[in-house]
């Protein structure tokens, strides 16, 4: 797969910056992309290790992309840091969920993922004049490899053996939050967008 064109890279960078800003606004913490946009092509078998060791406990927010684009968005946050985030979010909302594993915590995290994912997709939709809708967010707390291998199973059903992945790491300036945002475009989406960029 050829590297993304300069135009496409700029668009993705802007979309990911929007996601970081959305997350910052939600948390009241300045967040930035730690690394530039990483667009890479991977074998399906490599997907489970893209966000670090497979057994790492994480909270993941999963969105299916529907409309003029397809594919999957996944926000991956280390489990402990996700609990800190949830506490902050619930405190802002004046609600308490001390265990951090209940319905409220899931709902807060799902909303956060929705805001971050929508910020990313909105930038793409605006830039390319597309209608794109994320599915309701799904929250899962588990090993990162289990989440990603389930996603790999879905891609295997589509008989995809290689896939483009857009990935960035979001890092806070005051805490040690290191979250990943992954976008796996639908089968022909990447080439379509590159042609339009």
């Amino acid at each position: 797969m050829a590297p993304p064109s300069a135009d496409m890279e700029a668009i993705l960078r802007r979309a990911l910056d929007h996601s970081a800003e959305a997350l910052s606004g939600f948390l009241g913490t300045k967040l930035a992309r730690a690394a530039d946009v990483q667009l890479s092509r991977h074998r399906l078998a490599d997907l489970p290790v893209l966000c670090g060791p497979e057994e790492t406990p994480v909270a993941g927010v999963f969105l299916e992309v529907q409309g003029d684009l397809h594919g999957y968005l996944l926000l991956v946050i280390p489990a402990e840091e996700a609990r800190d985030m949830e506490s902050k979010l619930l405190a802002v909302a004046g609600t308490e969920d001390p265990e951090g594993t209940g319905e409220l915590a899931d709902s807060a995290l799902g909303e956060l993922g929705n805001v971050v994912g929508s910020a990313f997709l909105n930038e793409l939709a605006d830039r390319f004049h597309l209608s794109v809708t994320p599915s309701p967010p799904q929250v899962a707390r588990d090993m990162v490899g289990a989440l990603l291998s389930t996603l790999a199973g879905a891609l295997a059903v589509e008989e995809r053996t290689e896939l483009p992945v857009v990935r960035t790491e979001l890092v806070s300036d005051v805490s040690r939050l290191a979250a990943y945002l992954l976008w796996i475009p639908g089968g022909t989406d990447w080439n379509r967008l590159e042609a339009m960029a």
């Binding site: 497979e54 299916e64 989440l147 389930t150 199973g153 879905a154 059903v157």
Partner: protein
């Protein structure tokens, strides 16, 4: 102890030795272990989908319907006797609801049960389904499988009577 990790659609087959095989982070996939405990020959596969269908993929361990006969063939080459082989499996969770996918984990497990029955291989232990991911570990020195989950203690999957030390070894008396 050598540690070997099996990725999506990968497999291993081997004789007893100082080795452990791992499948980390099983979500909807299923980790399948076949073992002939009397000859201490075993195989493991990381099964991703229930059926090969019309796929041109050359990865027999990736599909439930092709993984079982393929592993049996690999084990027979190493001296296993089909009549002594038993199976165990873990995984097949429903972690994410993905449109058009249904319960792929449940279908993987069901397809494996069916294929094992077709080949006359008893399934002696399983930890499948639910919504939690699992890691499956197979110890080739003891013939014991262990399942791990986040926030839960490790569980021994293999029934005690199938562990190597408990089974008479082919060609010599039981090593109790």
């Amino acid at each position: 102890m050598r540690r070997v990790s099996l990725g999506l659609g990968e497999y291993r087959a081997g004789k007893a030795g100082a080795e452990q095989w791992f499948i980390y982070g099983l979500g909807s996939c299923v980790g399948l272990i076949l073992c002939d405990p009397t000859r201490q020959v075993s195989a493991m596969a990381h099964v991703v989908l229930p059926e090969k269908g019309r796929s041109l993929s050359g990865e027999p361990a990736k599909y439930a319907d092709t993984a079982v006969p393929f592993l049996l063939e690999q084990m027979e080459r190493l001296g296993a006797e089909r009549s002594s082989v038993y199976a165990q499996m873990a995984g097949g969770a429903r972690m994410l609801a993905i449109s058009g996918l249904g319960d792929i984990g449940g279908r993987n497990a069901a397809a494996l049960r069916e294929t094992l029955a077709e080949h006359g291989i008893p399934l002696v232990a399983e930890r499948v389904g639910g919504t939690q991911g699992r890691t499956l570990r197979w110890d080739l020195s003891t013939g014991r499988a262990v399942v791990s989950r986040v926030g839960a203690p490790d569980e021994i999957l293999t029934p005690q009577q199938y562990v190597y030390g408990e089974v008479p070894v082919y060609g010599r008396s039981a090593s109790r």
